[in-house]
């Protein structure tokens, strides 16, 4: 405090007052808290590098991911131009790993977007309309919850055959349930909050209330949940691939690479170790970012 004396009619200190009144927005605060969180920042840097590697990496490997070379079968790491070794068909593990990472990240992103769209729409409609409709819509979610997820996806896969777009949609269509519950709960409680009433009393219209008060408060938990859904989706796809229902060869995902590595692990440890490490590092960076975001955005847990 500068100790400015405020006299009626004086403009002295008005600037300070205005600045104080404007305050720091919710998002400024959140960003500051997020950037102070070392684990989250580390997660973001690692994830950035992984994404970069997945996007441009495949163009720089000496071999293509599906290039079979029978002279290089089970070449150990650092031999015959294979930085990470080669697999049972002599395919370069580095190239396959980068492609697999690309596929897994893409699945995570697309399937999460699908779940985001369905979940937010479903939850917001149920929460906003309330009453009977809300009850029926949430009953549907309950029922879908009691279907074992894996069964649902397996059914979708056998119904439509396993292709990569279907994997996106199938996993996204399953993962929206929690999202809809979160959004509904938030909408319900936000509708009746004092600050919404206060904003209304102060003369703010419905549009303004939704834009300035409901959505920012809804967005926090949703963003947090999105960062935690992406690794869940990557995991789900890997489970499917592990059971032979996911991405089909010669295409690769982290899940198929780990599954193949597990089969050949007695002969070629690198086929199991490098994909597993990549998987773990990817999941960890997402989780660190998600946890950091939750601490930064959700005021309850501060």
């Amino acid at each position: 405090m500068t100790g400015t004396i405020l006299t009626p009619g004086s403009r002295v200190g008005a600037e300070t007052m205005e600045k104080a009144a404007r305050g720091r927005s919710l998002w400024d605060d959140a960003r500051r808290r997020l950037l102070r969180n070392r684990a989250a920042v580390g997660g973001m840097i690692v994830l950035g590098l992984l994404v970069l590697a997945a996007i441009i990496g495949p163009y720089f490997t000496p071999y293509a991911y599906d290039q079979i070379n029978k002279d290089h079968v089970w070449a150990p790491p650092l031999t015959q131009g294979h930085l990470l070794g080669a697999d049972s068909l002599g395919r370069d593990l580095l190239a396959r790993l980068l492609t697999g990472l690309r596929v897994s990240l893409a699945i995570g992103l697309v399937a999460t977007t699908v779940s985001l769209i369905i979940g937010v729409a479903w939850g917001a409609i149920a929460g906003y309309l309330g009453g009977r409709i809300d009850e029926i819509m949430m009953r549907v979610v309950d029922v879908l919850y009691s279907l074992p997820f894996i069964f649902f996806v397996i059914l979708l896969m056998v119904t439509f055959g396993s292709n990569i777009i279907l994997i996106f949609v199938a996993i996204g269509a399953v993962e929206w349930l929690t999202m809809s519950r979160i959004v509904r709960g938030q909408t319900l409680s936000l509708k009746h909050k004092e600050f919404v009433e206060a904003a209304r009393a102060a003369g703010l219209g419905d549009g303004g209330i939704i834009a300035k008060h409901i959505i920012p408060n809804l967005l926090g938990p949703v963003v947090v949940y999105v960062t935690l859904t992406i690794p869940a989706v990557i995991l789900a796809e890997s489970f499917l691939s592990f059971l032979g229902l996911g991405v089909q060869p010669p295409m690769a995902s982290l899940g198929t690479l780990i599954a193949n590595g597990a089969q050949d692990m007695e002969l070629a440890w690198w086929l199991l170790v490098f994909p597993s490490l990549t998987m773990v590092v990817t999941l960890m960076s997402f989780n660190f970012i998600g946890d950091g975001l939750r601490d930064a955005i959700d005021p309850k847990d501060r």
Binding site: V158, M265, V280
Partner: protein, 307 residues
């Protein structure tokens, strides 16, 4: 209490009914039939086989007949495993899955709660950081990574434990699968417990208990823990679902004769009745666990009124 259980069971029936309906029609919408073998059946034989299982009738009629059977506890014959009913398949194989699932959830709860409480009591000290690191690792290392790595190191290289097989449920065969299933659950449970505990320890009634001069031990055990594990209780349902997917992978890697195998294979082979049996079994399991979770909730938290 009894009325509450009765009501919840009544609500569970339409839920189960809906689950059966969705699964039935999704399964039937899939192309292919259980009788598509390597050899193509002649049309007459196929028609006969279809007639034998009542699959020549209209779909809605089959659905009605199936529901009628389920109500009487008859899940029908398997279409692929000759001379076996779905109930027999369930009875013969549930034991492996149940043993694995129950032991790992009990083990995970005991270890997870202890670690979580320890971390909360030593908040922001080394113990706390160690436990939370374990928790993060447990969440981020999936079962299909831990399982092969443990098999490679402990079974193949060191030869301490068998790498696969059931062997009539002998303990050495069980250790690795249970460890693999338990680790991620320990991670989640210890995180939930720590979060709950940290919040509860800050609350007014704990301060009151401290002011009364109760020993720390008693405060933690009698007062704090009870409230702190409430979020954990709600996790029971999802945990069961997680164990199901986990056991699919674990049963495959360790070559165990559990239910998981039938789930995938039967769906791929269009063994309609077996798939339906699995769905009903798992859905009922999750519904029952959710009911137990609600009851525990009411027992632990007197503010919750069963209605």
């Amino acid at each position: 209490m009894l009325r509450f259980i009765g009501r919840r069971l009544l609500i569970a029936i339409p839920t189960l009914f809906l689950v059966i309906t969705v699964a039935f029609f999704m399964m039937r919408a899939a192309p292919g039939s259980p009788f598509d073998g390597d050899r193509k059946l002649s049309p007459e034989i196929e028609a006969n086989v279809m007639a034998k299982y009542g699959m020549d009738r209209p779909l809605l009629e089959q659905y009605g007949a199936y529901l009628a059977g389920v109500v009487q506890g008859d899940l029908g014959p398997s279409l692929k495993y000759k001379d076996k009913t779905v109930l027999q398949i369930l009875q013969e194989n549930y034991r492996v899955s149940l043993t694995l699932g129950l032991s790992s959830i009990i083990l995970a709860t005991v270890i997870g709660v202890s670690l979580g409480v320890l971390a909360a009591l030593r908040q922001n000290q080394t113990t706390d950081y160690v436990v939370m690191t374990i928790a993060i690792l447990g969440v981020c290392i999936p079962t299909f990574v831990t399982a092969p790595v443990l098999v490679l190191v402990i079974a193949s290289k060191l030869g301490w434990l068998p790498s696969a097989g059931w062997n009539g449920g002998a303990l050495p065969n069980l250790i690795l699968p249970i460890v693999v299933l338990t680790l991620p659950q320990v991670a989640i449970i210890s995180r939930l417990t720590r979060a709950g505990m940290v919040e509860v320890l800050r609350s007014n009634y704990i301060r009151t208990a401290r002011a009364k001069g109760l020993p720390e031990n008693r405060i933690v055990r009698r007062h704090a823990l009870r409230a702190a594990i409430l979020p954990l209780v709600s996790y029971l349902g999802p945990a069961a679902a997680g164990l199901i997917t986990g056991s699919l992978v674990v049963e495959k890697i360790f070559n165990l004769p559990g239910l998981g195998k039938f789930f995938v294979i039967s769906a791929l082979q269009r063994d309609y009745t077996v798939v339906m049996g699995m769905v009903i079994f798992y859905a009922a399991l999750i519904l029952i666990l959710n009911l137990i979770a609600d009851l525990l909730h009411a027992v632990l938290d007197p503010r919750v009124r069963l209605s």
